[in-house]
Symmetry: C2
Amino acid sequence: MKIRRSERLIDLTDYLENHPYQLVPLTFFAQRYQSAKSSISEDITIIKTVFKKRDLGIVETLPGAGGGVRFMPAISRELAAVYLENLREKLADPQRILPGGYLYLSDILGQPNLLRQVGRLIATQYAGQEIDAIMTMATKGIPIAQSAAYYLNVPYVIVRRESKITEGPTLSVNYESGSVHRIEKMELSKRSLPTGSRIIAVDDFMKGGGTISGMHNLVEEFSGKLVGVTVLVESNDARVDQAEKRFPATSLLNLQAISVEQQKLNIELGNYLEVTDFNPEKQIIE
Amino acid sequence: MKIRRSERLIDLTDYLENHPYQLVPLTFFAQRYQSAKSSISEDITIIKTVFKKRDLGIVETLPGAGGGVRFMPAISRELAAVYLENLREKLADPQRILPGGYLYLSDILGQPNLLRQVGRLIATQYAGQEIDAIMTMATKGIPIAQSAAYYLNVPYVIVRRESKITEGPTLSVNYESGSVHRIEKMELSKRSLPTGSRIIAVDDFMKGGGTISGMHNLVEEFSGKLVGVTVLVESNDARVDQAEKRFPATSLLNLQAISVEQQKLNIELGNYLEVTDFNPEKQIIE
């Protein structure tokens, strides 16, 4: 029994959404729908156009024997700006002010609709780039890492301050915690990361950058390469010049000032929009 | 300019996928596509049929003024069995055996494609039920909680062994850790959970159930109601009879036997398929 185009378009859209960055040969869909490859090509063309028009992401077709169709969940600068402003408004609430100039973020990090936006933003920044894994620090970096992993279709690994018996052998490095100005230790399960991996590091809050610097060292211990760092909120509080940092970080939001006494905070957009290339087709690695 | 059905079907599919459990009035789509509500109704009917046929989830339309369309990401028993067997095979690797009869799970918990399956399974178990939040224990329960939160469209909260300065005021309870047989403390940020919430608790590994019991107490401290417990792997190792437990847990997988000496393990499906009702329409709360 023949499968109609409407059914193919619906299932194709669902399939691509749930398989980002996976190159799927057209023959796979031709068999799935018992339809001619030419019909599938027409379907893809329609989907590609609608995804672009509706800002749902980029559907690209790679020609040739090893070719197929691939979905990149990258959004436009306009939509990214909307997501960022939405996050900024949510965080600009004085009730979030915590002692020590910290921001209460836990609720944000547990809301799936916001995490989808954060993941989409990070995935857009690194769209089409060669990335093997995402690294983050327990505990509050995990939601950020998972949201990005969903859209980039790469695994993420969790660095911890104290290793657990359920981690197996670990590799550890020391780092200076910017928050408490003392040397701490961070560990990662040895088998969790292949040596030579290309890594992006993500975290919820950066103040001074000690944690990021530690993750940088850890990546090097695994003979890997740190290709990017993105944080949800960067705090200017510690007054560390980006240039002085070992690795420049991309921030979605920037905590410019926070006063526990006056219960005031000033949170602006970070440097995300400046550093992000919104034409990922350019950077695709075939 | 008129928007064609093909475009509507693609965008509708994308929209529903990204807004699970959100009741969307047809007028929203009528405006979005400058199309008649009757056309939108026809689109929904097509999508509903394809989603059911392809096992992509349940699209339901609620009639009346307060009505609209809602997507429930629930899968069939057949697809659930495929997901579970896939997970079982991945975990049944003797190299995962860790001292103390633990399983190395960290890699599994960082793979987005597997987390999608876990999330879909948990969301199917609780499909259509009234749930306000998902609770989990740091660190390795977090990926499970987030994967389920994505499909159930509810926030998740993270219980921690030691509170952080970035959590604000916390509520804490003591619990007996099944693994090390000593009394430990677990804390949850006070503002992270409204009192009277209906909660499901999830975790990666249950051995004895001390952590779950602790989360049960914590839910009661928040005057909430624990309506379900689901774990990725339950270990028979501790020989705790389900009946003896304060709260019966649903397990996706069951670690029946593990021998560190012989480097052998026997992992089977848990009780998920027995306890899950695969007809969520029945339990929908209007």
